[in-house]
């Protein structure tokens, strides 16, 4: 397993952050809920290929991302639907549409696999972007861990609030220790695949803030809360994300 042994200079990385990245890589490598470890590592690999994909570059420049036909520059391990999902999420996420999502489902991709692959892709993008920001080389992808996917599927799913099914707000909130009231959509977004939601939270606690810190406006970081939210807001705006 790779180690994320960050250099001490010039920017020493907090131990909890390094550990969160190690944990994230173990999560990517292991058998998932609907995908094997090998498939999950292939998803991670595909996010890196997407950055150099000629077809994605062309699409990004086009007025409509669906106007450009042509195959992605991709590896051999994943079906076309997953390749398209990973490439578009990586390179042009702000212009994804529900009709595109529905087309993937019609082409045979399940909502569960969609959400799991999305979860793995965004972990990879997140950890890679951290390295990029600090001028560090990318961590080698982990070796896949053998084993069968768990098939865990929540029994309290609701449809119609987002493109993907999500867990019912009240029950999820109670389990996650939220105060009464609706759980934010961005937390429910991956809840169709609970293991991806747990991984999302673990990484977010280290890279951003824990739920308690979010609520209390406290920060035990070198950045104060307004500085954290300024960076968060700017990154969201640069990605043209409305959320």
């Amino acid at each position: 397993m790779t180690s994320f042994s960050y250099p001490a200079h010039p920017d020493p990385v907090r131990a909890d952050l390094a550990e969160a990245h190690r944990r994230a890589w173990r999560h990517v490598a292991g058998p998932g809920t609907w995908l094997t470890g090998a498939e999950r590592v292939a998803v991670a690999d595909e996010t890196r290929r997407a950055r150099d994909c000629g077809s994605c570059r062309e699409r990004k420049q086009a007025l409509s991302p669906f106007a450009v036909q042509g195959e992605h520059d991709h590896g051999a391990a994943l079906p076309e639907t997953l390749v398209d999902l990973v490439h578009r999420i990586t390179t042009d996420a702000a212009r994804l549409s529900e009709s595109w999502y529905r087309q993937l489902l019609e082409a045979g991709l399940s909502a569960e696999v969609y959400v799991e692959a999305l979860g793995v892709a965004v972990i990879t993008i997140s950890v890679d972007r951290f390295h990029h920001a600090l001028g560090l080389p990318l961590e080698p992808l982990p070796e896949a861990i053998a084993g069968d996917p768990s098939g865990e599927r929540p029994d309290d799913l609701t449809e119609g609030e987002a493109w993907v099914p999500m867990r019912e707000s009240r029950k999820l909130g109670k389990e996650m220790g939220f105060p009464p009231g609706p759980v934010p959509y961005v937390i429910r977004a991956l809840s169709l695949v609970p293991a991806e939601l747990r991984a999302w939270k673990a990484l977010s606690d280290a890279q951003y803030l824990s739920f308690d810190e979010m609520r209390s406006f406290d920060s035990n970081r070198a950045l104060d809360r307004s500085q954290i939210e300024l960076v968060a807001g700017r990154v969201s705006a640069l990605n043209e994300c409305f959320y």
Partner: protein, 148 residues
């Protein structure tokens, strides 16, 4: 969250640089200009400008700030894709609390906003909710800072 944290901190901030890089200054936040420049360079793929922005931030605020900012950048590269990739709407409370500032900053014009589900009529409650919640946040921040 930025607006809420600013109200809580009691700071005066100009958020116009969030969506419009040309207007990005300190935003009234300590090291705001350097943090924004670091985020801009990290999201773009220009290694030279990134190194310059990183060095400037380190010199002004220290290595720990650079690392924390890199963590937030990594985190929100993930968050935006989760939001965009699952088609979640804006939460009702967020819509209500931020409709004025979202309009002002042009966030409502983003393509991703058009493509996501609508959160309903929450925006109509915005002015009333803001009149109640923002002063409460300011008061809570004052009490915390004074140790009460």
């Amino acid at each position: 969250m930025l607006r809420a944290s600013i109200e809580f901190s009691g700071e005066e901030a100009d958020l116009s640089g969030i969506a419009d890089g040309a207007k990005a200054g300190d935003a009234g936040i300590e090291h705001g200009e350097r943090l924004t420049a670091f985020a801009d360079a990290a999201v773009a793929s220009d290694a030279a400008s990134l190194a310059t922005a990183r060095d400037a931030l380190r010199q002004a605020a220290g290595s720990a700030v650079v690392v924390d900012a890199a963590g937030v950048i990594g985190n929100f590269e993930r968050m935006v894709r989760i939001a965009d990739g699952t088609g979640i709407p804006l939460d009702g409370l967020v819509t209500a609390m931020s409709s004025d500032i979202r309009e002002e900053l042009g966030l409502e014009g983003f393509e991703s906003r058009r493509l996501a589900r609508s959160a309903g009529l929450a925006g109509l409650l915005g002015p009333a909710l803001r009149r109640v919640v923002l002063p409460v946040l300011r008061m809570a921040g004052r009490r915390k800072r004074s140790g009460a």
